[in-house]
Subunit: 301 residues, 4 copies
C-alpha cells in the first residue's frame, strides 16, 4: 500500500486497545512512531514493528497523521491543548484522529483548537473490544468533515472493518455514547425478560430463540446472550470473563448521562441502567463482562 509507506504516523496511547491498533498500522506498512508512559506497553508495540519515541512530542515529530487512544476526556484535552499541548507542535495540514471514547464536548473543544491551527481533526471512537483491535476488525464511528474522513479511510481500514460517518466534529463520540447507552439497556432488558421467563418455567434457550425472531429481537440475543449455556463462545459461557467489562460500560453510560445532563436530554432507562451497573460494580463485579449484570437481576440465571 503506497499510501501507507509514505505516510508517517505518530501514535499516542498503547494500552489494550491502542497497542494492537498501532501494531496493525505498522503491519500495514505505515512508519509508526509510538509512545506510551508504560515501558511494557512500548515494548510490545516495538516487537510489533513500530518505532518507540522518547515522548509524545517526539512521536508526532514529522507525522502526517496522529492517532491517539487514551482513557478519558482529561487525558485527551491534556495531551492536545494548552501551550505545551501537541496541537502547538504539529505542521498545518496534519490530520489528528482521536479514537479515545470521551465526552462529545471535549472532542469538539479539541476539534476547534485543531481547526484554529490549520489542522484536521476526526473524533473516531471504536467498538469491537480488544479482540477486534487485535484482528483489525474494529468499528469506527467518526465525526468530522467528509473529505477528511476520506483522507483517513485507508489508515482506518488498516485497523478496522467498518466505518460509520456520524456527522460533524463530536458526532463520532455522540453516536458511540448513544449506541452504548442503548446497548446497556438492551443487555439489562434482555436479562430481565429471560429471568422472568425462567421464573415462569420457560427454557432460556427456547425463549431466547422466540424473542430473537420476534419483536424483542436485539443484538444481545443475536450475539451476546447473558444466560450461561445458551450461546457458545460468549462471556456468559465462560464465567463472564473477557468481553467488555462492567466498569467500561459504566464509564460509557456515565459519559452518556453526563452528555444528557449537559444537553437537557431525558434518558430514564439509560439513567437507571447506569445506576444498576454502578451497584453491580460496587458489589465487586466491575472486572466481569457487562453481561454479568444478569446476576443483579437473578443470581442464578
Amino acid at each position: 500500500m503506497s499510501d501507507a509507506n509514505s505516510t508517517p504516523v505518530g501514535f499516542i496511547g498503547l494500552g489494550n486497545m491502542g497497542g494492537p491498533m498501532a501494531i496493525n498500522l505498522a503491519k500495514a506498512g505505515y512508519p509508526v512512531k509510538a509512545f506510551d508512559l508504560s515501558a511494557d506497553a512500548c515494548k510490545k508495540v516495538a516487537e510489533g514493528g513500530a518505532t518507540i519515541a522518547a515522548s509524545a512530542a517526539d512521536a508526532v515529530k514529522g507525522a502526517k497523521i496522529v492517532v491517539s487512544m487514551l482513557p478519558a476526556s482529561r487525558h485527551v484535552e491534556g495531551l492536545y491543548l494548552g501551550d505545551k499541548g501537541l496541537l502547538a507542535l504539529l505542521e498545518p495540514g496534519t490530520l489528528v484522529l482521536d479514537s479515545s471514547t470521551i465526552a462529545p464536548v471535549s472532542a469538539r473543544k479539541v476539534a476547534e483548537a485543531a481547526t484554529a491551527r490549520g489542522l484536521e481533526f476526526l473524533d473516531a471512537p471504536v467498538s469491537g473490544g480488544t479482540a477486534g483491535a487485535a484482528a483489525g476488525t474494529l468499528t469506527f464511528m467518526v465525526g468530522g468533515d467528509t473529505a477528511v474522513l476520506e483522507r483517513a479511510t485507508p489508515l482506518i481500514k488498516s485497523m478496522g472493518a467498518n466505518i460509520f460517518h456520524a456527522g460533524g466534529h463530536g458526532a463520532g463520540q455522540g453516536a458511540k455514547l448513544c449506541n452504548n447507552m442503548l446497548l446497556a439497556i438492551l443487555m439489562i432488558g434482555t436479562s430481565e425478560a429471560l429471568s422472568l421467563g425462567k421464573s415462569l418455567g420457560l427454557d432460556p434457550k427456547v425463549l431466547s430463540e422466540v424473542m430473537r425472531r420476534s419483536s424483542g429481537g436485539n443484538w444481545t440475543l443475536e450475539k451476546y446472550n447473558p444466560v450461561p449455556g445458551v450461546m457458545e463462545g460468549v462471556p456468559a459461557s465462560r464465567g463472564y470473563t473477557g468481553g467488555f467489562g462492567t466498569d467500561l460500560m459504566l464509564k460509557d453510560v456515565g459519559l452518556a448521562l453526563e452528555a444528557a445532563l449537559g444537553s437537557g436530554a431525558c434518558v430514564p432507562l439509560g439513567g437507571l441502567a447506569r445506576e444498576l451497573y454502578a451497584s453491580h460494580s460496587k458489589a465487586g463485579h466491575g472486572g466481569l463482562d457487562f453481561s454479568s449484570i444478569i446476576g443483579l437481576i437473578n443470581p442464578q440465571p
Copy 2:
C-alpha cells in the same frame, strides 16, 4: 384442504383480532360457528363466511376445535370454568385453543381444568396486530403438548405465518409477556438514544442507521422507528396512528409485572417501562401507537 373441511370449529370472541381470524378459518374451508356479544361483530364475520351461533354454548356444540380471543384473564376464566363454563359442555378429546393474551397463571388454570375433563388445551397468544390478523400472517406463541400443537398446526396456519412452541401449558402466554415487556423496553431505550443523539446534534436517520448496524441494533430500529420521517409506513410517520396502541402495551407490560410479582422475578427496566407508559396514557395518549412514548422523552422528536 380435507382437514379443514371435516373439522367443525367453534369460535368465541369476534373483536378486531378475533373477527378476521374467524373469517380466515372460514375462508380456509373450516365450518366455523362463531359467537360474540356484539351483533355488529357477528354480522361482519357472517359476511366473511362463518355461521353465527346464538350463544357461546351453541357455538361450541359439536365442535372438534374451539378457538377463543377475549380481552382479559377474567373473561377467559369466566368463559371456560365453573359449572356453567364451556369446558363442562365439550366432548372429551376436543381441542381448546385460547389466543387471548392473559396471565400465565390463568392459562394454566384453564389448562388444568381442561385436562381434568379429558380435553386438550393450548395457550396461543398472537402478535402481528389487526393487519396481521386480516392478512393471516400472525405469529403464534404456543404453550402445551407437542402432539396437540401438531394437531392444531393446520388450523393455526390458516390464521398465521409463524408458530413458536414455547413449552408446556402457560408457556405461550409467558413467552408473549416476556417478549412484549422486552419490546416495551426496546422502544423507550431507542427513543432515549435517538433523543439524546438529537440533543447532541446528530441526525436521527444517520444515528438510527449506525445503531441498527451496531450493538444497539434491535427490532424497533429495523421495523418501527419512533422518530417521524426516519422510516416510511410506520406509525411515527403518520401521527402515531394505527399500529399497537399505548394502552394495549400498558396492558401487556402490566401482565408481565403481575407475573413478576407472582414469581418473585426482578424486572427494573420492565417495571419502569410500565410506569412510563402509564404516565403517557394518563396524559391522554393511550389511543396512540406505543411508539408515541418518545413524546414523553422529547416532545419534539
Copy 3:
C-alpha cells in the same frame, strides 16, 4: 374494663404479630378463644391467658368480635368466604376485624360478603412490628363505618396506641399500602443521599442531622437511620437484625404495585423500589431488616 369482661373474642392467626395481640386482649380481660394451625403458636398464647380452640370454627363460636391476623389475601379469603367460610357461621351483628395486611380488593370482597350476611367488618392492618405487638403500641389503619370503629375502639386500644380512620371498607388496607410504599421509597432515597454524601467526604452523622432538620427531613432520618453507628437502637446498629424484614417490605410494596396495576395508578419510584428490594432479597438478604437495602446502594455504608 366491663366491656372487655363481657365481650367474647375469637382470634384466628397466632404468629409473631397475632400471638402477642391475642395475649394483650386476654390481659385486658377479654375472654379470648384463639386458633392457629401451629401447636407451638397456640401453646404460647395459652400461656398468655387465652383459651385454645380446636378449630377456627370452634374459636368463633359464640364470639361477638372476631379478630384475624393472617399472612396474605388468599388466607383471609379462604378463612371467611365460601360455603364453609367463617362468615357463614357467625351470628348477625358480629364484628369482624381483620388485621392482616392484604390487597384492598380482597378486603372489600370480604367486607361485602360480611355486610350481605348482616355482619360488621373493619379492615385494620397494623404497623409497629413485633415489638409494638408485644408492647400493645401498634398503629391501626382502619377502613369501615365510623360507628363500627367506635364499637371496636376499646378492643383496638387493648392492642395498640394509635388508630387512624382512613375511610370506608378497604381504606385501611389502602392507607397502609400507600404509607409503606412511601416508606420503602424514603429508606432508599435516604440511603442514596447518605451514600452520595459519604462519597463526597461528608460525615453521615452530620449530614443526617442537616437533612433531618431541612427539607430532606423524613421518618427514616428521625427514627431509623440506615447507616451503622449514626443512631442507637436501630437495626443498622446491630447488623440489620430485628426490625422489619426486607421480605416483608417486598410483600407490602408488591401489594401496593398490584393495587396500582389494578387501579391504573402510576408509581415510578414505588415501582423501582419494589425491584431494588427484590434484587436485594434475591442476593440473600430477605431476612435482614429493610434498612439493609443501603448495602445495594453502597456495600460499605
Copy 4:
C-alpha cells in the same frame, strides 16, 4: 452591630436571591459595595441601601468579606479564578463566602486557589427561596473551617435564620445537593402515594394526615403537600405558582447526579427523579413549582 459597621463587604450577583441578601446586609449596617451585570438588578439594590460598584473588581476593592451569588459553577470559577479573577485582587485574610449552588468540585477548586493566596473561603449555599432571602430567614449549609465560619456568623445571621456546618471545603455544596436530591425524591414519592391512594378511593387529606403521622412522614407532607386543596398557602393551592421552580430543582438534581458520576456513587431513585423532572420540564412545566411534578404521575391530582 459594631461588627457590621466596621466590615466592608463586596457583593457580586444581585439576582432574585442575591439582591435581597445584599439589601439585608446593608440594612444590618454593613457597608456593602455591590455589582451585577444587570442595571435593573443594581438599581433595586441601590434603593435597598447598598453602593453600586462599576465592576466586580471595583466592588471588592477594600472589602474584608466578599459574598457571591451566581447561577452556576462556570460563573463562580470565571469570577474568582485565573489571572484576571477576583482572588488575585483580594488582600490576604479576606473572607470569601460563595452562596451559589454549584458543584462541590468547583467549590473545592476555588477554595484551594483562595487558600493558596492566603484568603479564607466558605462555600455556603442556601435554601429557603426568594421569600426566605427577602425575610432574612434563609438556611445556610456551610463548608470550611470552624474558625472561619465563626468569623462569618454575624454576617450570615444578617441574611439567614439557620446555619449548618456540614464539614470542610465543598461540604456545604455537598450537603445541599444531597438534601435537595432527597427532597426531589420525597416530592415524587409522596405524589405517588397520594395518587395511588386516590385511585383506591382514599381522601388525599385523610391519607396525608395518616402518612404524616406514620412511617411515611416527611417534609413534603409537613410543609408542602402537592395535592391542591390539602394545605393552605402552598404552591399546589395556587396553581403551582411561586415556590421553587421545576427547572431549579432539575438543576440541583443534575448537580447531584454529576457529583455521583464523579464519585462513583449509586443513586437509583435520585437518578430517576432527575429524568422525571426533565420530562416534566420538557413538557413545558419548567416554570411551575416543583410540586407540580404530581401532574406527571396523575394529571388530575
